[in-house]
Amino acid sequence: MSKAEADGIIFERQNLMLQFDKDAELLGEIAAGLKPKDKLAEVTASIAETAAASKGAFEPRVPGGRAKPEVWSNWADYSRRLDDLEKNTKQLAEFGAKGDLTSVTNMLGGALQCKECHDVYRGPKKPA
């Protein structure tokens, strides 16, 4: 695999994470009543799509970025987390499609597990 291709794999998973970040922020604002809920279906669908793409993006064993080597040495645990994320966000998107903000909000605490995973598998930000 060329260096550009390996870098591209890291870039892809980082872009998926940045998409999570953007969508999770908007969803948080909708849940908090700061933004109207007309984007609820769209944003929950986007989160589900990103989650569905995540496992494939981490599958190639390409250390780098802020991913710790444990992502691959503990792949059974790591991939289970991504499977859970996919399953939970699929449910989230189903509630979102129905405009069911209450159920979406109730799920938010447990469905995403962003910090829980980062605490174990994401290294510190590189010094500028």
Binding site: S2, K3, A4, E5, D7, G8, I9, E12, Q14, N15
Partner: protein, 158 residues
């Protein structure tokens, strides 16, 4: 103070100042516009690249979707050369993630711009060829060219 009570020399001086003020206003506004153009350009490039990757994840990728995204990427690859006029770098009160080294390490930066343009061309050829596996590889390599530049010349966020 009314103008008719000013001596001609003072009047001329005043005219120069007023004129300079008018001329200077757009000059001061220009960097903000240039940065806006750059960020909007990259935002569209990011969106096109996402469309391409989303398209490639579909069970049977739609050639029209891939072609349209590739055209936007190719357009950005040629426009990027105009996105860094002198004076459009970071300064107090201006929001940009472009590092000042872009303007001091011109040749290195240019090399990374050319690398991106070359990968965009390779992507276009792969899309033209229609082999999905080859398009995926080209898309990844293209992503590598984005990352190579961001790692060096863009301020990391989060």
């Amino acid at each position: 103070m009314t103008i008719d009570r000013l001596k001609p020399a003072k009047l001329r001086a005043l005219a120069v100042i007023v004129f300079a003020g008018i001329a200077a206003a757009p000059l001061l506004a220009a960097p903000a516009d240039q940065i806006r153009t750059r960020i909007d350009g990259y935002r569209d490039l990011g969106a096109a690249f996402k469309t391409l990757n989303d398209g490639l994840r579909a069970p049977s990728p739609q050639p029209a979707v891939l072609r349209a995204a590739t055209q936007r990427i190719r357009a950005a690859a040629s426009h990027q050369y105009g996105w860094y006029p002198a004076g459009s770098g970071p300064r107090p009160g201006v929001k940009t993630a472009a590092k000042p080294e872009i303007w001091t390490q011109g040749p290195r930066f240019r090399q990374l711009q050319d690398g991106f343009a070359a990968q965009a061309g390779a992507l276009e050829r792969a899309v033209g060829g229609g082999n999905v596996a080859a398009i995926r590889t080209a898309a990844r390599s293209l992503g590598g060219s984005c990352k190579a530049c961001h790692d060096q010349f863009r301020v990391e966020k989060n």
